[in-house]
Symmetry: C2
Subunit: 194 residues, 2 copies
C-alpha cells in the first residue's frame, strides 16, 4: 500500500469518525480500523491523535469551503444566496437525522480548551467561514437589500454562531425546529426596510 | 463520612469536572479524586458515569434556573430583562476566560448522540430554559415593546440557540466578539417598530 494512500485513508477515516463520535471518545485504533490500515502505520504519519484531528478539521473545512462558492453566485440575490446556503446545510443535517451536528462546532466545544493546536485551526476556519458570509452581506449592502448601517463582519459572525447554535440544538431535539427558528429570525434584523 | 455527603460531593465534583473537561475526557477516577472520596464509593451511588452525568446536568440546570427568576422581575422592562440576563451570562464566561463554555451546550454537542439518557435530560433542560425566555417575550408583547406578530416560543428558541452558538464561538476566540455580535443582532428583529 503506497504511503500517501495510507495517510489519506487515515485522514478520511478520521474526518468521519471524529465528526460522528468526537475527539475523546475516538481512539487511534478506532481510526486505523475505520481506515482499514495497520494500527502501527498511524505513527508513521502523525505524531499524535491531536495532530491528526487538526488535519481532519482542515479536511472538513475544505468541504465546507467548496460549498461557500455559492455565496458568490452573481445570478442570485445576496439574501437569497444566504437563505439557500443555510437551507442546504439544514438538509445535510436532516439527511443524517441530526445525529452528528457540525464537526467544527463539535470540535469547538470539545477541544478548544483542551488543545491549543485545534483551537488555532478552528479560529482560522471560523474566520474564513465568516469572511465568506460577510462578503455576501456586503454585496447585499451594495444593492440596497441589506441594511447599510450594519457591520457586515459582526453580522456574519452572528449568523454563523447562531447557525452553530441551531445545529447544536438539533442534535438534542432531533428535529427541524432549531433550523425553522433560525430561518425565521436570523435574517430579520439584517434586511433593509423597504 | 455520611453516605449522603459522599453522593453530594461526587455530584458537585462532577459538575465542575464535566463542565471543564467534557464527558469522554473525564474518568470516574478524575471525579472521585476531585470529590476527595474513595474510587470504590462511586458505584455505591451511581451505576455508571453516564448516570452521574445526567445528575450533574440536572444540578447545573438548577443553577441556571435560579437565575432565570430575573426574567420575571416586573420592575424591569421585558427587553431590558433579557439584555441584562444575557449580559450576566457573558460576564460569567468572561470571568472564566471563556474556557469552559456552557455545560448544557458542551454536553449537547458531545453527548446527545452518544447517550439517549443525557439527550432526554438536555431536551427537558433546553425546553425549560426556552420557556422562561418565551415568558419574558410574551410580557414584552403584552406591553407593546416586542413585535406582536412573532411566535414567542420560536423567538425564545432562536435567542437561546444563538446564545449557545456565541458561547461556543467564544471558547475558540477567547474574547467577547461573539457576545458583542449577539447583543447587537439577536434582539433587533424582535423589537416592535416604534
Amino acid at each position: 500500500m503506497a504511503q500517501r494512500n495510507v495517510k489519506e485513508q487515515i485522514i478520511e477515516a478520521a474526518v468521519e469518525t471524529l465528526h460522528k463520535k468526537g475527539f475523546n471518545a475516538t481512539s487511534v485504533q478506532d481510526i486505523t480500523e475505520a481506515a482499514k490500515v495497520p494500527k502501527g502505520s498511524f505513527y508513521n504519519h502523525f505524531d499524535s491523535k491531536e495532530e491528526l484531528a487538526v488535519e481532519a478539521i482542515d479536511r472538513y473545512w475544505r468541504m465546507v469551503l467548496s460549498h461557500l462558492q455559492e455565496l458568490r453566485n452573481p445570478d442570485v440575490a445576496p439574501m437569497t444566496r444566504l437563505e439557500r446556503y443555510f437551507d442546504r446545510l439544514a438538509n445535510v443535517a436532516r439527511s443524517g437525522e441530526y445525529a452528528s451536528g457540525c464537526m467544527i462546532g463539535n470540535m469547538s466545544t470539545e477541544l478548544a480548551d483542551q488543545s491549543p493546536l485545534a483551537r488555532g485551526k478552528l479560529e482560522t476556519v471560523l474566520e474564513g467561514w465568516c469572511s465568506a458570509i460577510g462578503g455576501c452581506l456586503k454585496e447585499g449592502q451594495a444593492d440596497g437589500s441589506i441594511r447599510a448601517d450594519l457591520d457586515p463582519q459582526a453580522a456574519a459572525e452572528f449568523l454563523l454562531n447562531s447557525w452553530e447554535g441551531a445545529v447544536m440544538r438539533s442534535k438534542v431535539d432531533r428535529d427541524d425546529a432549531a433550523f425553522a427558528s433560525f430561518t425565521k429570525f436570523a435574517f430579520s434584523g439584517l434586511r433593509a426596510l423597504s
